[in-house]
């Protein structure tokens, strides 16, 4: 119901129309390919059986989707609850990323209608056999990890509960499958010692592919959070991203050391100073590996959204995209009397069409499903608010697990746009709020009935405390000063809870009194300064 209503009100923005047009072009080109063959839409030929689609859509696509398993394992295996707000976007990107890879393969494969042969005909010697299985299984895992967003929206409790119970299994499987095929994309090229350039060919190829994918995972989460914070007007989780990005210098550092060791051992440094490929080698190493190691080691970068974005883009473009092209395409020997393969416009049209579709799909999910943590308004409170989330506010840090569970059970997460009225002075105080993100301004009417600014609530602080104080009437209005995320605790339920648990009631009352006092100080100081 809600959905159709929202849909009807939804006007298609011009950016989406343009993306839609690009998708249509891609579909038309694909149609030509299905009618007249791959040769009809590409410069691929017998000397270059693999081109843009394998190097970019498959290799880069899979690598840049690594954010999903990195974030999921951080939250569920290593119990870093603080990363939960970026988990869903990362999983969505991963899921869409893999779907995009599969669509690209359906264009690139000579016999796309037989893709299921991978299931029934096995060749355990073939790395591609493993890649195929891992991609199939992992896409399924990602679909299951993504599906709670859908079920929450639909309000289907049964599958939600089931998925909730098997989450850890899914995450373990997903991490295993990702490790396997991120690395096996590198192993694929170990079958071609005469083709891959010696600067890139190595028995460590699987490890190289894995390490760079694991590093580009967080980098992609940064890029994507930055973009979506712009597009969807939500806050950027700078602290979280900064924390996540600490992994990048470690992963890339191991990668760099291994590579230096490997080239030295093979005595191949001569190849690094010959012009041609060696220039690309240095561009890749210096801009894509060394520079990000330095940048992400600096706290001044990790605490600034824009700087992190730049450093992350270096990892994406030079550390991974350039690397995958060097391994799989540019570094290959050019066959005698043939010119270098360059993709033609229709190959790009396919790739661009697939990416456009991916972006549109992301936008639709962001619009209609509870993607960002703050959107969990429609979800049953139990499924969303955990004691960990409560404890992100000092106001709700309690040593007793039972207290936290009690509070979590009656709390829900809500989000507000900038400049949105949350409640109005004089109304009954129905809920207590605790701000998690953003900033809220309080206004009270003075004697002449004029609204004056009487206080500002910052992340971590409670507001709407009248819900705890008789006669439960709001003494101020609250309006957001930025896009906000808050915990909302039903006042009635809270009062019931404190009746059952007087100790909790006392602790809460004490903190509320403290907050009220602070606010009075603040208001007086403000008036006096006038």
């Amino acid at each position: 119901m809600i959905k159709t209503a929202t849909l009807a009100r939804y006007r298609v923005p011009p950016g989406v129309l343009m993306l839609g047009a690009l998708v249509v072009i891609g579909v038309l080109v694909a149609l030509v390919r299905y009618l007249f063959g791959i040769g009809a839409i590409s410069n691929l030929n017998d000397a270059y059986p693999w081109g843009l689609w394998i190097s970019f859509d498959l290799l880069c696509g899979v690598a840049t989707a690594a954010g999903a398993f990195i974030t999921a394992s951080a939250v569920y295996i290593f119990r870093m609850e603080r990363f939960r707000p970026i988990l869903r976007p990362a999983i969505l990107t991963g899921f869409l990323g893999y779907l995009m890879v599969i669509v690209a393969l359906l264009v690139d494969l000579g016999r796309p209608e037989r893709i299921w042969h991978l299931i029934i005909y096995w060749n355990p010697h073939s790395v591609l056999f493993e890649v195929g299985w891992c991609v199939m299984l992992y896409t399924t895992v990602l679909a299951l990890e993504f599906s709670p967003m859908l079920f929450e929206r639909l309000g289907w409790k049964m599958p939600l509960e089931f998925l909730h119970r098997i989450t850890i299994v899914l995450v373990l499987l997903g991490t295993l499958l990702s490790t396997l095929h991120q690395s096996s994309l590198g192993s694929m090229f170990m079958a071609m010692p005469t083709k891959v350039n010696p600067l890139w060919f190595s028995q460590f190829l699987p490890l190289y592919f894995f390490l760079t994918a694991a590093a580009v995972g967080p980098a992609m989460v940064i890029v994507e959070s930055y973009i979506s914070s712009r597009v969807f007007w939500r806050g950027l989780e700078v602290d979280l991203l900064g924390e996540l990005s600490k992994a990048i210098p470690i992963l890339l550092g191991i990668y760099l050391l291994l590579k230096v060791f490997d080239i030295t051992l093979a005595g191949e440094w001569g190849f690094a100073f010959q012009g041609g490929m060696s220039i690309l080698f240095w561009v890749e190493i210096l801009l894509g590996v060394v520079a990000p190691i330095v940048l992400f080691s600096m706290p001044s970068v990790r605490s600034d959204g824009k700087r992190m974005l730049v450093a992350a883009l270096l990892v994406v473009f030079f550390g991974v995209v350039l690397n995958r092209f060097n391994v799989s395409l540019i570094g290959w020997p050019r066959p005698a009397n043939l010119s270098m393969y360059l993709p033609n416009w229709m190959e790009f049209a396919i790739t661009i069409g697939i990416w456009s579709a991916g972006i549109v799909a992301y936008g639709l999910v962001a619009k209609f499903l509870p993607l960002f943590a703050a959107d969990h308004v429609v979800t049953p409170a139990k499924a969303v608010v955990t004691p960990e989330i409560l404890q992100r506010s000092r106001f709700l840090v309690f040593p007793e697990a039972a207290w936290l569970q009690g509070l979590a059970a009656i709390a829900e997460q809500v989000n507000f746009d900038d400049n949105q009225l949350i409640f109005r002075q004089g109304e009954p105080a129905r809920s207590l709020y605790v701000l998690l993100e953003g900033s809220v301004k309080l206004y009270s009417k003075d004697k002449e009935g004029k609204e004056v600014h009487t206080g500002t609530i910052n992340a971590g602080e409670p507001f709407g405390i009248s819900a705890l104080i008789e006669p439960y009437i709001l003494t101020a209005s609250a309006r957001t000063a930025a896009p906000c995320r808050a915990l909302k605790i039903d006042g009635k339920a809270l009062r019931d809870l404190t009746k059952e648990n007087p100790a909790l009631g006392q602790a809460l009352a004490q903190r509320t009194a403290q907050a009220a006092l602070t606010r009075m100080h603040w208001a007086r100081a403000w008036r006096e300064s006038m």
Binding site: R33, Y34, L35, F36, G37, I38, G39, L44, D46, A47, P49, W50, I77, F78, R79, L109, G110, R111, P112, R114, L118, Y121, W122, N123, H125, S126, V127, L128, E130, V131, G132, L172, L176, L180, S187, M188, M190, A191, M192, P193, T194, Q203, P206, P335, A336, N337, R394, V397, F398, P399, G460, E461, A507, Q510, R511, Q514, A515, T518, H521, W522
Partner: protein, 276 residues
Amino acid sequence: MAKYGMLIDETRCTGCRGCQVACKQWNDLPGEETHNTGSYTNPPHLSAQTWNLIEYKEIDRGGQVGFFFLKRACMHCEHPACVSVCPVGALRKTPEGPVVYDDHKCIGCRYCMAACPFGIPKFDWQKGLLEGALIRKCTFCADRLSNGLIPACAKTCPSKAITFGERDQLIVEAENRIRKNPDKYVNHVYGKEEAGGTSILYLSAVPFEQLGLPKLGPAPVTTLSEQVMEYTLPFAGVWLATLAGLAAVFKFRERGAKQPEIGPAADDPHNKEASK
């Protein structure tokens, strides 16, 4: 079972292209429309329509430029890279020698093309879904062999440059020819050991790289990738156990986690402002 091979003595080849035509005839392959590329090699490359090609090389031997020929077709490797990498097992090495392809299994990934060190498998680039694109390459006339016939190219060759027989005996024969005419041949039987050995063996008067055959070591090119595949399952088991163990450890640690101190901490903005 006899393991067959073919010995191609390039010093005997006259470049008549008889084998090229015989191959097209037996396999029902259409001619290709070509244009002058400045070389006698015609068509210029192997393709899905041309599985056997005589390449013409003008090679300078101490001031004298001469024509040399290379009969290029599938080598029917002993450890074929194409067979090793095909994800669906569409390619298969038969015990008799031919490396054959199953039209009905192939998914068209073209990994075989990328992996073959000799650049042999070719693809139907101009076929859509209805025609059904396939990988095409020399079959060693497996269909003829199983009916007691020798390959069409070997049957046709008027100058006896192509000898069909059992691989072991062909190697003996090739080494004999070198021994009898050491000045005529490069002292090497190409294919005896290259990339793990091939069913097709070459003798030549000029170095094989000049003819256009790649320099390859005795190990099959897919040695490393096959090794990785062997380690994959054990690795997966160990890794999954490790991850599960880590998950358990962290879950346990969280349960027994130190409880945060009571009340708002010193850096709580409320506290600071209230005590002012």
